[in-house]
Symmetry: none
Subunit: 193 residues, 4 copies
Amino acid sequence: MEERLADNRERILLATRQRVADGGFREAQVSAVAAAAGLSTGTLYRYFPSKAELFVEVLTRAVDQEILILSEIAGRDVAASERLGAAVASFVRRALAGPNLAYAFIAEPVDPEVEAARIRCRKQFGDVFKTILNAGIDSGEFPAQDSDAAAACIVGAFTEALVGPIGPSTRNTRDKARLIEAIRTFCLRAVGG
Amino acid sequence: MEERLADNRERILLATRQRVADGGFREAQVSAVAAAAGLSTGTLYRYFPSKAELFVEVLTRAVDQEILILSEIAGRDVAASERLGAAVASFVRRALAGPNLAYAFIAEPVDPEVEAARIRCRKQFGDVFKTILNAGIDSGEFPAQDSDAAAACIVGAFTEALVGPIGPSTRNTRDKARLIEAIRTFCLRAVGG
Amino acid sequence: MEERLADNRERILLATRQRVADGGFREAQVSAVAAAAGLSTGTLYRYFPSKAELFVEVLTRAVDQEILILSEIAGRDVAASERLGAAVASFVRRALAGPNLAYAFIAEPVDPEVEAARIRCRKQFGDVFKTILNAGIDSGEFPAQDSDAAAACIVGAFTEALVGPIGPSTRNTRDKARLIEAIRTFCLRAVGG
Amino acid sequence: MEERLADNRERILLATRQRVADGGFREAQVSAVAAAAGLSTGTLYRYFPSKAELFVEVLTRAVDQEILILSEIAGRDVAASERLGAAVASFVRRALAGPNLAYAFIAEPVDPEVEAARIRCRKQFGDVFKTILNAGIDSGEFPAQDSDAAAACIVGAFTEALVGPIGPSTRNTRDKARLIEAIRTFCLRAVGG
DNA sequence: CATGAATGAGAATTCATTCAT
DNA sequence: TATGAATGAATTCTCATTCAT
């Protein structure tokens, strides 16, 4: 029972992720998500009080996991530039696996409540990079700079290059590797590392 | 009365811009825009065949003007790095005047038709920067690099720094000047200039 | 001036006929008709108090002319069967020249006011045939029969064969001649002539 | 609850039929039909994907049943003239029960999708009569004739006599019986049977 | 008289949320 | 507890008619 409840909750979250990845938040209607999860809409509403809160959780979950990984990298005992490069590359690599999901999460707003969550998430990303930057500046590895602005620039740079419409097309593994490298180089040089 | 017609068209475009700036395309319903323009919905439809086309025009208008300015900068007879810095700073400066509108233009998707226009617009931005980059690479001013990826990164960087939630808050003129400088430095260093 | 007024009125009626013939009443919007007549909608409303009354007049005009011709045939000093055959063939022949107009007039309802006019028009057609039928019955040329029903059947028969969707396709002159003959034969035999 | 669902679907179809019978397709707005069925418009859309498809189903339902009956008659093992007479009389008899509905079905076009269905339906009717006619012609019972044109004429004749405005008014049972007989005689004689 | 811009009621359709079973 | 049918507010778009210029 407890088992079952948790199961349903996970199924709903998963179904939402998949639909968002497919067609963006626009295509993730409550009824479609419920159907994909093998549940009724009524049941979905037993687990989530509203569509917005469901979306917020899907978003937060994905981002939390990402932040965990990036934080680990940020905490490593190596040069800041290495950490920065690793963090960027790590994020980019995973994002390339599911671009639409990343796009929807990063760029597509839905309603104010979800939008607020999206903002918090980007802020979290920025904070990770700011941490690395500040460490590098303190250690003299990076030149003095506005780490807020630079962190924002970094997040923006890889977001756009990854999921934005003007990013280079990445069809095969080689293309992807090149793109990751290009973005890493860009960001590293940008902060003077 | 020619006067009057043009007026209405402009009023509608202006009302749309304002509502978009306030609450994104989401809040720019036909009836709300018409009311804000002091017109009936029927009249709005005399000037624009559909909501989507109205949005597309609002979008392209703003972007076309921007592209014009950036292109002029890109064509100047000075070092590529100077042109790049000037272009970034120029864009950022103007964008800081109406951040929400910029956000809606750059980041918010609406429906397929408008989304297509948004993509074209971002591509235009990217192309301007790619032109500068390639010139700089050819002249040996910048190191060899993937100019597609770098152009995307640049657009993403300043977009995010400007309108993204993680960008530093800019309350006064001094803050703004600092932000512009930070973004310019970031982008210039990023491409090795 | 007087000249001009009459001209405009005729132009409007003609433009209406043409648009109806092209796309049915559905496509004959006031603004489209006015444009086709080279006038403004406001001017159109100086000549016709409403769209419905305009349509009614277009309808009545066309039918009145038709009735005139049929009445002449009905009044000829020849056998009833010959008159009947001639009337049917005469109507059918002209209708084949502009099938869409005929169809719209005969079968397509628009709004109650126009529909009422349409009913009156069909009644007029029926009356012509009833007159011929009654004459033929009186003279012993046709067997006794319900001339109301038979007249309705005749109108229905040629209407359907002409403009209905199940009528045989008539692409060339030969086809048309055959169709006219088939309908005439059908109607003549039907009344026992 | 299965019960309930089917009920609603039927209720919607019935409500549509009734409104169509009253005022034609024109008066069968989605909201009016839903209200007449005791449902919300949203619910109506659970059962029918669009107004057009609802209309098409109302149309085809009625026609399919009719065609079934007529086909049975057409297949009987009696003289073609008897079958023709029986088919006409059978159709007319039932149609006299709901003249306006029949009119809307047979004569009133609405939008392209529904109009297409209407055409298919009339074609079905025509085919039944063509079958009988061809059989009669083959057996020598009817003289050689264009069975396409004649079938169209027959459908047109009884349609008009039934639902057209010029048909005789039929107030009581005796009148109706006479009308049926008049139409049957008309059609039979028309094909030479 | 002529114009044609403006009006605004009305129609179809969608979908998050509720609640009787 | 689960269901999913029902709801109805909200939104886009059309077009006959009016009236200030």
